[in-house]
């Protein structure tokens, strides 16, 4: 079922595309919001979503990604890969300067990837495991040598992983206490201007930007408004022009989209493809029984959740692989809403009404409502559920210590199963202390084998076969509940043009954006 809103979005996206033909105008400042207030703006040092969103305009990586997740040039003009898939050579642009006027060169790339991110950035460390060396061949050529072929490597240059930071500022310093952290220096189309804590972060146009004629805007103001209802009002009364995903409650979106001059897009999240899941503790209690987990899948009315809570945005997933992920297996048997079947499964396993604890995700009203809906769904097939509210700190700790039966979460898929999906199911990823690894405690040797093989298999066809096989096993075992591939809508005024031009959406630069006013 598609709601009118979902249709509206498709239509809006189409008009947005056709508008590209117009001649861009210069000038104007765009007002948008950021939620929550980021802790800092130096990417790599901080990987929070709000930091990425703001700093994506200040910092750049070697490549960008289209909405189909194809790499396109940014700081690297071109790159080549050796036939064995082990050596990647990047040729850098030669006309790039940092915001402080220093020249950007290969030393910056080597420093960023090999020193800065290795020290600070866990996402980068995950990729660095597969890298043997990073060397500057000359001032504008860098060579990455992998230990084995690593399928997702070309997707690692998104701003959150290997973003470029200035070597001349950070080399040899205590990164975290560097003065420059308060005044981040990047190569992007916008420069840091001012941060009035609790109120606004201001970026201004980088007049010396190396891409001819860009950016169009004079600046960006990221307003900090902690209350969702206030953010919606800020859009309604014209204070802000863009509401990036997650900044307004889903319930407000239908009302906002009915306003004049308002467009919505779900694009820009292809790289992340946020996937909502229900952790189910595979170690103990009723949830350790496969039949119980299947029953949960049948009991949940995921269509209802999508239509009521998410305004019809997003997709009910087939199984462990999202539809944006590569290598989805379409032949799997879907778990439809079927309470009768759920009850049968529970009878079959002899569920005795043991209480099951549910942890909602403390990320706002929609998630709270969703937990209430799931709780009710499960109660109706006879599962005793108690919701245990936590805040972010409590949620992190409970998951990190595996102290839960059912728990909501959502995970980014990062475009490639080896980056975003396998981490949830590999038994080598079972480790206390993190809410992002194999928290459910699923252990299956076959699955481990298939995922590991697929990550380094070459070429793509071979990977596909392995991934298809692993999906069939997962579909039967249901290590976690697959809730929804989230649709993250961005609401904006239609006269804001070229807002989303890449697969990382508003996390990418606003350099192509212009105001038709």
């Amino acid at each position: 079922m598609k709601t009118p809103l979902a249709l509206a979005i498709t239509a809006a996206a189409m008009t947005a595309t056709s508008a590209v033909a117009q001649e861009p105008q210069y000038g104007g400042v765009i007002d948008t919001v950021i939620q929550p207030e980021p802790p800092g703006l130096v990417l790599g040092m901080i990987q929070n979503a709000p930091t990425r969103t703001v700093a994506g305009n200040i910092y750049e990586g070697l490549m960008r990604y289209t909405t189909d997740l194809e790499p396109i040039p940014q700081l690297a003009t071109e790159w080549e890969v050796s036939d064995d898939g082990l050596t990647w050579t990047f040729h850098l642009r030669e006309d790039v300067t940092w915001h402080d006027g220093e020249t950007f060169n290969a030393e910056d790339v080597v420093f960023s990837a090999d020193v800065f991110h290795r020290d600070l950035n866990p996402s980068a460390r995950a990729v660095l495991q597969h890298i043997e060396s990073i060397e500057a061949i000359d001032d504008y050529t860098v060579e990455f040598t992998l230990t084995e072929p690593f399928g997702p490597f070309p997707l690692s240059f998104e701003a959150g992983t290997f973003t470029m930071v200035p070597e001349h500022i950070y080399a040899g310093t205590d990164f975290r206490n560097n003065e420059a952290n308060n005044h981040p220096i990047g190569t992007g189309a916008f420069k840091f201007d001012e941060w009035d804590r609790g109120t606004v972060i201001k970026l201004v146009k980088n007049e010396d930007y190396y891409e001819e004629g860009l950016p169009y805007l004079d600046g960006i103001n990221w307003h900090i408004i902690p209350d969702g209802a206030s953010r919606a009002i800020a859009y309604e009364n014209g204070t802000v022009d863009v509401l990036p995903y997650g900044t307004v409650e889903n319930f407000d979106i239908p009302r906002l989209t009915e306003m004049d001059n308002t467009c919505v897009t779900e694009e820009g999240h292809e790289y992340f493809s946020p996937f909502a899941m229900l952790w189910m503790n595979n170690r103990e209690g009723p949830t350790a029984d496969k039949r119980f987990r299947q029953a949960v899948m049948y009991a949940m009315d995921r269509e209802f959740a999508r239509d009521v809570l998410w305004n019809g945005l997003g997709k009910v997933p087939l199984g462990a692989f999202g539809s944006n992920a590569k290598f989805q297996n379409d032949d799997l048997e879907p778990y439809d809403h079927d309470p009768e079947k759920a009850r049968e499964l529970l009878d079959e396993m002899g569920y005795d009404g043991e209480e099951v604890r549910l942890l909602p995700l403390p990320y706002g009203e929609t998630w709270t409502r969703w937990a209430e809906a799931v709780q009710q769904n499960l109660r109706e097939v006879g599962i005793e559920v108690t919701t245990e509210a936590t805040d972010v700190g409590g949620w992190n700790q409970r998951l990190g210590e595996w102290d839960f039966d059912l728990a909501f979460t959502y995970l980014y898929q990062y475009g490639d199963p080896a980056l975003g999906i396998s981490r949830t199911y590999l038994s080598s990823n079972i480790e206390k202390g993190s809410p992002w690894n194999n928290v459910e405690g699923y252990e299956n040797e076959k699955v481990d084998e298939l995922f590991n093989e697929a990550a380094t298999a070459y070429p793509e066809e071979e990977r596909e076969a392995l991934y298809h096989e692993v999906q069939e096993i997962l579909q039967e075992d249901v290590p976690v509940g697959w809730l929804l591939e989230l649709g993250f809508p961005t609401v904006y005024r239609c006269d804001v043009k070229n807002l989303v031009t890449s697969g990382v959406g508003v996390n990418d630069s606003f350099k192509d954006t212009w105001l038709d006013r």
């Binding site: 800092g40 929070n48 866990p122 206030s230 700190g393 202390g433």
Partner: protein, 325 residues
């Protein structure tokens, strides 16, 4: 001289209370599940052991609790409130940046509620048993019984959304680039809704208190004396009854002024007012221990300062206090 010495002894006691508060809160916060490192890691969406270890080491969370406490307390003794884990700024800077906004909001609300409350309360007392007096009291009761956040929400919907008279949130219009008088005007406009909302509840309290206190005072013998002099009723109300009725209100107001900082949390959240209450709520959710402790320290210090001010004002208002010796 006596005055100065007594205030010094009050301050000394205050310092002891503040240190007790620090210690209590320190342990209280430790009881909360999760630590700042885990939350920062969680927000990042990706983490590994190395990352958590780095964070904990940086924040000193790898040290035994008593070492952490000692470090914190000795830091505070030198007015070093530490570093906010999440905001990556010195706590003192963060608090001092937010404090003026809170003081502006609560100060305005305080003055507004006190003035309006006393006026309404004395009107109601003078018109006791008349319809107009009953209406005032009914309204006061209504404001008292209405959840503050609900009024806040409703007033935003009405005054900002439908009527579009007043800005709905924030301290000033971002990007308008106002300076000087224009800025003050702009801030003033932003102040109206949050200050009024916050003031309503407290105004209700003062109204009821003033009325009760005035009715009480009007039973006093000196009121009869004043009437026997042939004074006009209005003069008696103002000069004799109200002045005496104000004494208990000063005490109450002193207590409330401190509590308003707490009450501002809701208002600041709804109106996106960049104050200390909101900062506190965020710090709590982030387990930003240093920041949270710092805010507790400052709000407790504010309460104590208000109490001392109250005593001073009381001393001015009531000659019996100062001249006791």
């Amino acid at each position: 001289m006596l005055y100065a010495r007594l205030i010094a002894s009050r301050l000394f006691k205050a310092v002891i209370v503040l240190f007790m508060i620090i210690i209590l809160n320190f342990f209280l916060i430790q009881l909360a599940p999760g630590d700042p490192a885990a939350i920062l890691a969680g927000e990042a969406g990706a983490t590994d052991e190395e990352f958590l270890r780095q964070l904990r080491e940086r924040f000193g969370l790898d040290q035994p609790l008593y070492v952490q406490l000692w470090r914190y307390v000795s830091g505070v003794a030198t007015l070093d409130f530490g570093y906010s884990y999440r905001q990556q700024m010195p706590v003192l800077d963060l608090i001092l940046a937010r404090l003026p906004a809170t003081l502006l909001l609560t100060g305005t609300a305080f003055v507004l509620s006190l003035v309006l409350g006393i006026v309404a309360g004395s009107l109601a007392a003078a018109r006791v048993k008349k319809p107009s007096g009953s209406i005032i009291m009914a309204l006061a009761l209504l404001f008292y019984a209405t959840p503050l956040f609900w009024v806040a929400l409703m007033s935003v919907v009405v005054f900002s959304v439908y009527l579009d008279w007043l800005p709905a949130y924030g301290l000033y219009t971002v990007g308008a680039g106002h300076t000087g008088f224009a800025l003050a005007l702009d801030v003033g406009k932003h102040l109206i809704l949050p200050a009024t909302t916050l003031a309503l509840f407290f105004m209700a309290i003062y109204t009821r208190m003033t009325r009760a206190s005035m009715l009480d005072a009007s039973q006093q013998d000196f009121v009869k004396t004043a009437r026997a002099k042939g004074l006009k009723n209005s003069v008696i109300q103002r000069r004799h009854i109200l002045r005496n009725a104000l004494l208990p209100i000063i005490t109450l107001a002193g207590l409330q002024a401190g509590q308003m900082v707490g009450g501002a949390i809701l208002t600041e959240t709804v109106f996106a007012w960049p104050g200390i209450g909101r900062l506190m709520f965020e710090a709590l959710q982030q387990r930003d221990y240093n920041l949270l402790l710092g805010i507790f320290f400052f709000s407790a210090a504010l309460v104590i300062v208000f109490n001392i001010i109250t005593d001073l004002v009381y001393g001015l208002a009531d000659p019996r206090i100062k001249g006791g010796s």
